[in-house]
Symmetry: C2
Subunit: 276 residues, 2 copies
């Protein structure tokens, strides 16, 4: 979608691929997949709203299998420009409720995994207010923690891995379906509330500036984007996630106490939004 | 510079660093540098003009030394939006004249090196009309060819390496100085001729769209940018090269026979501009 009233640009991608030859990156991690055909499918979506009071949203859910090896992955995360606590709390609580219906360990682990993944080291900033992210979910003990950095609090999580319940393919598939279904209740109420908020050049300029971070993350760090570009994927589909209009400004700093500074000071610090 | 009349954004960077601990990337290639202090300096410039008939220009010249090891590197290249043969020929002929005053092998080798370096595989496109680029110039036979891919015509170049004259530090330093001095005569006449050409939304939209390629190159491929971001360089200085305003559009294709198509069909094909 281009130049919509609410969404300046948006896209939904669906991919389904199969073959005989597994990528070395997968064979190295899961040698028991060798010699089997593989199948991979995923859907992804990025919506760039026009109004700076409506956050950008990104969603991706995917599945991989090769003989005895299979896993689910994906997540959803929110990137606001001008926002407020209520919207962020609503988004996270909706995701937590979905996670909690399946496993009380899902939300705290996948929220943290999301904060770790959508992070720009060169800016020392998260991409936004996060959401949930997970990968390699195959129901084995320990899969909840695979994304966590191995130092610091991760060690604590790992100690709990022995207590995590094993789960079946059907249980994780049902969780992935529920994650997809959580998109509308998590995001649409925010859009409906904020899409009519008035704004001017100042807010638009800040939105375009912050969209630059989205570009930096996707082109420098996002594994899916880089893998796609390096393996002759369809460039227009891979770069569908980039915003329609973006701005860079040398040494921009928000004025202390301004609404722009609030994004940095409050919302670009990982917080336990669902508990607020 | 921000929001100038001619240049929408421009920056000049100067760096000078030294230390005891050489990066592994250098030690792997030049083990004889081990145990020596290193010194590295460079200057770089990117100018993003406002008028779509004026091309973006990028320049970088640099020097490295550690004990017995030293080399010069750098180059200059042009990225047009709407251009014409005369401007591109002028740019390349000016660079060729500078190169030829020092060594007749410089221009053909460094022009080719530039075409190979400023290339976007995922778009199957060069970044612009090129210019010259070189690295590891230490006066030894073969250094003229170090950047070339090893298959195809590069083999021919390599055979000629035995005939290349050895050069002294002073000779290469004097070449680097002349390269810097070539910037004004190579670029300014184009700016003076084209900065008053009238344009409208169509040309502006295409300029912003094409600037997206500049972002893609710098964030996905440029070794200097990625090295800087990964080694805790000063982010604002490293990303100074990004354009002030950029646009992405899903599946854009220029209309056949249009001025936009001419960029793709004529100017984004490496050509022997200096001989035209």
């Amino acid at each position: 979608m281009k130049q919509g009233n609410i969404f300046e640009q948006g896209g939904v991608g669906f991919s389904e691929v199969w073959g005989d030859k597994l990528p070395p990156s997968i064979l190295g991690k899961r040698p028991e997949a060798a010699g089997h055909q593989f199948y991979a499918t995923g859907t992804s979506m990025v919506l760039h709203p026009r109004n700076p009071y409506v956050p950008t949203v990104h969603l991706n859910y995917r599945y991989f299998e090769a003989g005895p090896v299979w896993w689910f992955g994906g997540g959803i995360d929110l990137t606001p420009y001008y926002t407020n606590e209520a919207d962020v709390i609503h988004f996270h609580r909706t995701l937590k409720a979905t996670c909690d219906r399946h496993n009380p360990q899902y939300y705290p682990n996948f929220k943290r995994w999301c904060d770790e993944y959508f992070y720009l080291p060169h800016r020392n900033e998260p991409r936004g207010v996060g959401g949930i992210f997970f990968d390699y979910q195959n129901g084995q003990r320990g899969d909840l923690y695979r994304g966590h950095n191995q130092d610091g609090p991760a060690a604590l999580y790992s100690q709990q891995a022995g207590n995590a319940p094993k789960r079946t393919w059907e249980e994780i598939f049902s969780f992935a379906i529920d994650c997809g279904d959580a998109f509308l209740p998590a995001y649409i109420p925010i859009v409906e509330k904020r899409a009519t908020t008035e704004y001017g050049d100042r807010e638009r300029d800040f939105q375009l500036y912050r969209r630059g971070r989205y570009v930096e993350f996707n082109l420098v760090y996002d594994r899916g984007t880089l893998f796609g570009l390096q393996t002759n994927g369809r460039t227009e589909s891979i770069l569908m996630s980039l915003p329609p209009m973006v701005r860079w400004e040398y040494s921009y700093e928000p004025e202390a106490g301004s609404p722009e500074a609030k994004l940095y000071d409050v919302f670009l610090k990982p917080q336990d939004w669902a508990q607020m």
